[in-house]
């Protein structure tokens, strides 16, 4: 194994043994092979750059590199299009460590020397982020390479395998050409993605968000503070932002739209799907810190004649996220709130049972204008998971869920 910082400045000779220059960078061509060094950037004695392709590299050691051709056989123009460059794009840059769900800075890159079909290839193994690599960077050029290797072998080293590294490339077109994807990142829990997003700079955040699918992006964005949500949404194109807001829970969406400048939120609403926009608009009408502003309009309400069977059907057709449902509400054709049945009770009842039988006599509810403090108190007093919100005619308007109340309580502290 060899470290990039040992290859950096490596004297390079051609097949006749005459000096070519020093290695300054390594280029990887992701369209061919994302693990293999395709080009060696060699800087000659007069600062001129030459590009040694991988087939032309005869051998590499810690002391020197040697090509299999003469100087004349090496092109002085770049032989490939967009290259991922180890020093320029990876070394000292921030990358996402998907395995540990955090953002780290690269101290060094571990490579492997591999003899292949008559020449030597370098393969990228991992990025090095540990203390050992930091010390090696400090010693670089001050001691002999084997001395610094020996010193660093006593220090804990930390590496991330190249496959688990997510490079961050803010330039969208370049990202496409380099085939950088955030596939693994997208599989993390949205809360972890949110943590990662918060560490990144604005451009980097944008690049990550733009590459995630709408749903994942919406879930991740929902996990960061509303103020920062607004900043992020403003930095991405309106259409994409509208799609993301569309995927957010209506109450979350309303919160972030409130935070945005009026003209931006109007643009977003105009770009959203009509149904989603309508719900959000209704929520936007409520005063801050009231039950109306807290509630979501994604809830499951059935006619009072419904049975346990029909709940399963209704849940299959439910458009919002099923996980947020804790109770099924009973309404009449005027949408008057008549009862509430906890999901667990439905689960235990025979299929034909009518929901009205399972419903408690008195259902707790608050009015849309009820102060948020009262809502918190209700949740605490009755150990609620959700609480229906009604207007002055007892018509069901929405539901406040425990996670929103928890956010509110935590932020008030």
């Amino acid at each position: 194994m060899i470290y990039f910082t040992e290859i950096q400045n490596l004297p390079t000779y051609d097949v006749m043994g005459s000096y070519l220059g020093r290695v300054t960078d390594l280029g990887i061509d992701p369209t061919q092979n994302a693990l293999r060094v395709a080009v060696y950037f060699v800087e000659g004695p007069h600062k001129e750059l030459i590009y040694v392709t991988r087939e032309q590299m005869q051998s590499i050691t810690v002391r020197s590199a040697q090509t299999s051709v003469t100087r004349a056989g090496i092109p002085s123009s770049k032989p490939f299009g967009d290259l991922l460059r180890v020093r320029k794009d990876v070394l000292d840059q921030q990358v996402i460590d998907v395995d540990h769900r955090k953002v780290v800075r690269v101290n060094d890159v571990d490579l492997e020397i591999q003899p292949t079909g008559g020449h030597t290839e370098l393969r990228v193994l991992a990025v090095n982020v540990g203390l050992a690599s930091a010390v090696r960077r400090l010693l670089q050029g001050l001691t002999a390479k084997h001395t610094s290797r020996r010193i660093c072998s006593f220090i804990p080293s930390k590496t991330i395998r190249w496959e688990f590294v997510n490079l961050i490339e803010p330039d969208a077109s370049r990202r496409l050409k380099l085939r950088i994807s955030y596939e693994r990142l997208a599989r993390l829990h949205p809360a972890d993605i949110a943590d990662i997003l918060e560490v990144l700079s604005r451009d980097e955040q944008r690049s990550v968000i733009e590459s995630l699918d709408h749903e994942t992006a919406a879930q991740a964005i929902s996990e960061i503070p509303t103020e920062k949500q607004a900043q992020l949404l403003q930095s991405i194109p309106v259409e994409k932002a509208a799609d993301i807001v569309d995927e957010m829970a209506p109450d979350e969406a309303a919160d972030v739209l409130q935070e945005l400048p009026p003209e931006t939120s109007a643009k977003l609403l105009a770009d959203m799907e009509t149904a989603g926009a309508q719900e959000v608009k209704e929520l936007l009408g409520f005063e801050e810190d009231t039950a109306g502003a807290l509630m979501t309009t994604e809830y499951l309400a059935l006619d009072r004649t419904a049975t346990v069977e029909s709940v399963v059907e209704a849940m299959k057709e439910f458009e919002g996220s099923v996980e947020s449902i804790h109770s099924v509400y009973l309404i009449d054709d005027q949408e008057t709130l008549l009862g509430a049945v906890p999901l667990a009770r439905i689960l235990l009842a025979p299929a034909r049972t009518s929901l009205q039988e399972l419903s408690r006599e008195e259902v707790l509810s608050v009015r849309t204008e009820t102060d948020a403090k009262v809502v918190i108190d209700q949740f605490r007093k009755y150990n609620l998971l959700s609480l229906p919100v009604v207007d002055d005619k007892q018509h069901l308007q929405g539901v406040v869920t425990a996670d929103d109340v928890l956010d509110l309580v935590v932020n008030r502290r």
Partner: protein, 420 residues
């Protein structure tokens, strides 16, 4: 004015207030114990005659601070981050070590300033310094960014103590104004060193790192940049207005009465008493204690920020202790060591550390300024917001002058030309 216009003005004011903070806070921390001492000596020894230097100093300060704040807004990254990405690990590491040592020295001098400021009121340093350290520590570790920033902004208000005490000293306002706009020069060694000292205390390496990080943490958007710029400009002006009043207060009393040798800033406060009255003296000392405590808060915080940034570790007071351990340990360590040094070491033993910190500041400043200038000219980083040619000209001149003067200042300290 019609209602719509009024509404836009109100919106603008609200945005300004949302963006304000980093610039004003950074600029005020600049008036720390060392700064106040320098201004006091300038007034006591040379009267009003050095006031004119404040105008070029303010311009230099604005130019440099504007540049880093702009970099923070445009790139969304801290200065240490950018230096690391462009100039590699070793340069960053060495810079961070120097800053760490320099800031430890600055922290010591601020705790010393706190102790001597309150000693005017007869309070013992053995109580004040540990208490101050605990307050400073708890404020940041237990507070959120918004809360801490509010406390800092309130601390900025207390700099009003200096204008008031200078009014109580009944200076000759016409003399002060005249000397502010009219440059004067004395070919006297100590006069020249005093000028260098005034400039040297104004632009320091750590401020650039702090300001950029604070702007980033605040999340200022590019389209609100114009407000952020005003935050920076107002901050720089306020700093030097405070400096103006300190110099005036000392000039009106100490210089006029011939009491021209003071040992520290608290000495200046004590000496004001028979000349300007108890109230002026008490306000002066209170101002010193406030400024010292304020800077003792921010310096360790700033240091923890940029060291973690540069080395790629998590930082930020919005993080929990277990999320950003190095950040909190650095912060705690600097405060504890700083306070311990003032409580445990005799004054003669503190002086070399403070001196070393000044020298390190001086050595680093050219690097930091040049890094800054080169970074803010990079098109791939700054895009349309990179320096204009005219701005570059002013900035380079500022940098070169700063660098020359700082080198002279360091030399002066070694040759004991002036106490700095």
């Amino acid at each position: 004015m019609d209602r719509n216009r009024l509404k836009t003005y109100r919106t603008r004011l609200l945005i300004f207030l949302a963006v304000v903070g980093p610039g004003i806070i950074t600029a005020n921390v600049d008036n720390d114990a060392g700064g106040i001492y320098t201004y006091s000596v300038a007034g006591a020894r040379f009267g009003y005659s050095l006031l004119w230097t404040l105008i070029p100093i303010t311009i230099a300060l604005i130019v440099v601070q504007e540049m880093v704040a702009r970099m923070g807004v445009v790139t969304g990254k801290g200065l240490a981050d950018l230096i690391r990405e462009e100039y590699g690990f070793r340069a960053t590491f060495l810079l961070m070590i120097c800053l760490l040592v320099a800031d430890l020295g600055n922290t010591i001098s601020n705790f010393a300033g706190l102790a001597s400021g309150l000693s005017v009121f007869g309070l013992s340093r053995y109580i004040i310094v540990p208490l101050g350290a605990v307050i400073v520590w708890a404020l940041v570790v237990k507070g959120t960014y918004e809360f801490v920033e509010k406390v800092f902004l309130v601390a900025c208000v207390f700099y009003i103590a200096y204008p008031i005490s200078s009014f109580l000293a009944h200076p000759s306002w016409s003399g002060a104004m005249f000397n502010t706009v009219k440059p004067s020069f004395q070919l006297d060694r100590s006069y020249l060193f005093m000028i260098i000292g005034l400039i040297g205390t104004t632009i320091t390496p750590w401020m650039q790192f702090y300001l950029q990080s604070a702007v980033v943490e605040k999340g200022v958007k590019i389209k609100d940049w114009v407000y952020s710029r005003w935050d920076v400009i107002v901050g720089c002006i306020v700093t030097d207005v405070v400096a103006f009043f300190i110099i005036v207060a000392c000039a009106a009393t100490l210089y006029t009465s011939g009491h021209r040798d003071i040992r520290d800033a608290a000495d200046a406060a004590l000496a004001l008493r028979p000349l300007a009255g108890h109230a002026a003296s008490a306000l002066f000392a209170f101002g010193l204690a406030n400024a010292s405590l304020f800077s003792a808060c921010i310096l360790p915080l700033a240091t923890a920020y940029y060291v973690c940034e540069g080395l790629g570790l998590e930082s930020g007071i919005d993080k929990r202790v277990d999320e950003a351990p190095t950040f909190y340990w650095l912060y705690t360590g600097l405060i504890v060591l700083g306070a311990l040094a003032v409580v445990a070491l005799r004054e003669q033993m503190q002086v070399p550390i403070i001196l070393l910190s000044q020298v390190l500041n001086g050595i680093m400043l050219p690097f930091v300024l040049i890094f800054m200038l080169r970074l803010s000219n990079r098109e791939d980083l700054m895009g349309a917001h990179r320096n204009t040619r005219a701005f570059n000209a002013i900035a380079w001149v500022t940098c070169v002058v700063m660098i020359i003067l700082t080198v002279l200042l360091i030399a002066a300290q070694f040759f004991q030309g002036m106490p700095a």
